[in-house]
Amino acid sequence: MRNNLRVFVIITILGLIISACGGGASTANTGGPVTSAPDATDAAVLHIGWLGVPDTLNPAYAFLTEAYSIFDLVYSPLVTESPSGEYVGALAKEWSASDDHLTWTFALKDGLKWHNGEDFTADQMAWAINAVIADPDGWAALSGYVDGFSEATAPDAKTVQIVTEYPIANMEYRLSFLYAVYPPDFESFASPEELQNFVNDHPIGTGAFKMNAFDKDRGVLILDANKEYVDGAPFLDQVIFQKFDAADAMIQALKAGDIDLVLGIPASAYETVKNFQGVKAVAFEGRGFDELIINDTSEDNDPPSTGNPALKDPAVRLALETATNRQDLIDIVLQSLGKPGSTIVPPTLGGGFWHNPEIKPVEFDIAKANQILDEAGYIMGADGVRVKDGVRLEFRLQFDAESSNYPRIADLLSDWYKQIGVKATPQGMDADTLIAAMTAVGDYDLVIWGWVADPDPDFILGVMLSDQYTPGGWNDSGYHNPAYDALYKKQQSAIDKNERQEFVYEMQEMVYNDRPYIVLYYDVALQAYRSDRFTNFIESPLGIEISASLAQVKPVDK
């Protein structure tokens, strides 16, 4: 044991010396961040570095994008979005809709097996969908996708049938999030809370990779290749996700060769990473945006919201947006890689089909913002904070402290807001604590956060629904607008694409005018991988780490 330790220490020190000399990639894996090495020396192991960690591996109650990255690798839905943008079968071989668009029939692929070797049958898929329909409170994260579903059935072992209450315009998209979860894992929960508290550390799925281990505290997640994968075994043997606490450390690890793929390079480091030897950096307009969330929780919420009541005033919201310098945010936070934000539907969705181009962001103008507040009756106090009827414009400005961008955004926002007599106090928080303080509770004023929209606008529009303001729901602003909710239902069943576009445009306008969010910018997804070690990635807006991509990645022949 002692000898081994000594060898390890020597190797590590050597590795440090090599990397410190700037000699590019050190060829040996020199005591990288992960200690679990594969058995065979020539095993193909892809080390992925990222800055987050899945909040849970339970698809019923997962919120962070990191969790969905893992679901995509471990679980399979009936159909999935391909890197080129259209929907292809994952578990389903082919599918069709009845003429009235109310019955969908899916024929499953042959030879489907669970990770534990059992055969996968159609009634298990039907069970997974029905579970979400039956318990929308428990399956809070997925319940939006089964809106309007009546039931799923399995007429035979290879066929799944889904009946809906009304024609659903975006059926394939919805099904791409309804994962085939292993029924024995999820059958036994008596209450929604029990289901939500289930950690699911060893999910059994049908995807290209199977779970080996997940240590949330250490931020390590290990996946093994599923050699029985229906679309062909991956070339990789193992994929290891390692959480980094700092972007700089992660980037240096990529440079040194301790990790092979980096998800989410901060824009501030992109130029540097592009120049690394043996590394390929990729940038693509993603579907993400960052926003300032303004507490819009209704007065009769239980528990009562602690949000500053002045935030209900449209003038205050408009003033905040007018005092937000989007160009500076893009130049500083994104190093000019990004576009000013306006609506909650990013311009990349459906090739730009769903984004309402009529909506323009408000021009940055401190004088005008001051004027708006003056006219609304907020008097500048002696301490530089405006007051109206005893309510001071003094807000908490909270954000996930782990982000490399949000602390800087908070710093800039509070500087600008100070100039209009608004005191915004930045406060970095733990992401889980922040989620718990927001949805259904309303214990915040202003929060900086971001979304990654789905390919279809349905999801991001659903974030503003009043019935999503429940524990585990997606609505974090407390926005409640019956007219909006009604339009949402309409767009869901509008089979005609152009008609649906009109509804989607109108909804964006409502949200924009009511300002539960100030969309700051649409960001760019930045990733990089060691092209001297691995090849065959699919570069698409979905990210290079998606299942379709990782399943075909190969080590470079030495």
Binding site: D248, I251, S268, A269, D331, I332, R396, D411, S414, P426
Partner: protein, 319 residues
């Protein structure tokens, strides 16, 4: 002014004569003084404020710009002038350091004197609390406390929280030191004589014990300053400072989280690091020299032959 304070001032004067012979002490004093002056006269030393964003001819923010005429130390990731951040940051870092240092010294000295002077149960109580605080690692405890207090939504500024937490937790070593010194002083004859002619506790502590302790307190304040500044920088680096007010720690925090190292922007992370080194080195040099000069033998020598004061000879105290 009482005789004792005159004595103290005279001692200070003599002390300066001895002090200025010591090169290291002078260097330490110089380092602290320059940092203080830079902080006080910050507005005169830069045309920019700490929140001004440097812009190019198109009005776009100049991020990670290397040192140039308009910004002698370059700009940070947000286009702020690093030199302006540095000297305005000195205000926060030094203020937190000094206030926290003074609070901890005040608490430490008071508790040390009380424990040492009264002895018995009081001594036991104070010293056990000190022991407990000493075995808890400072930084993690402060981290948890600052984070918890800030979650509680009290209407206090993040900086006050920082000052109070550092000040109220970092007094343990001072308390021990002052207590042991008090123990020796209170056994001296002049204290016994004062008590014999009916002096009260307060009188004895104030007139006889405190002046004797003063040199020790001054020395330790200087030494604790450096620790307080380092702790402030550490906590701010970990994101627990006041992000709206630049300090050296928050500068390092931003440099770290905004990839200054990957960008090779040394002008962003080196200056605050050097500034912290500058001040804490200054405090340590000064403090060590003071400590050297203030050893008990020296202290006894200063007190000899004062009018109205009972001289202590080496024979009497056994020193």
């Amino acid at each position: 002014m009482s005789d004792h304070w005159k004595l103290f001032l005279r001692n200070l004067n003599e002390f300066w004569k001895a002090f200025r012979r010591n090169k290291l002490g002078l260097v330490g004093g110089f380092l602290i003084l320059t940092a203080l002056l830079a902080a006080i006269f910050a507005p005169a030393l830069t045309p920019h404020s700490a929140v001004d964003i440097m812009r190019d001819s198109n009005g776009r923010a100049l991020t990670f710009a290397s040192p140039a005429m308009h910004s002698p130390l370059g700009t940070d990731d947000a286009g702020h002038d690093v030199w302006a951040l540095l000297i305005y940051g000195a205000r926060i870092s030094l203020m937190v350091g000094f206030l926290a240092g003074f609070i901890s010294m005040f608490v430490g000295s008071s508790l040390g004197i009380i424990a040492g002077y009264f002895g018995g149960a009081v001594d036991t109580l104070v010293m056990r609390v000190t022991d407990i605080l000493m075995v808890i690692p400072d930084l993690p405890l402060m981290l948890v406390l600052v984070a918890t207090i800030r979650q509680m939504d009290l209407k206090v500024s993040p900086l006050s929280v920082l000052i109070l937490v550092i000040g109220l937790l970092y007094w343990t070593s001072a308390a021990r030191l002052i207590r042991s010194q008090t123990l020796t002083i209170k056994e001296r004859q002049f204290v016994a004589r004062a008590r014999a002619i009916g002096a009260g506790h307060w009188h004895i502590v104030r007139k006889h014990i405190l002046p004797q302790l003063m040199p020790l307190i001054v020395t330790n304040t200087v030494l604790i300053l450096s620790t307080a500044i380092l702790i402030e920088s550490g906590l701010a680096f970990l994101g627990l400072g006041d992000p709206t007010q630049p300090s050296w720690g928050t500068m390092l925090n931003f440099a770290f989280s905004r990839s200054a190292i990957s960008n090779g922007a040394w002008w962003f992370y080196l200056p605050p690091g050097i500034a912290i080194l500058w001040v804490s080195l200054g405090c340590i040099l000064l403090g060590n020299v003071l400590e050297e000069m203030m050893n008990p033998r020296l202290a006894a020598h200063y007190l000899e032959g004062d009018k109205g004061m009972i001289a202590i000879t080496d024979k009497e105290t056994g020193l």
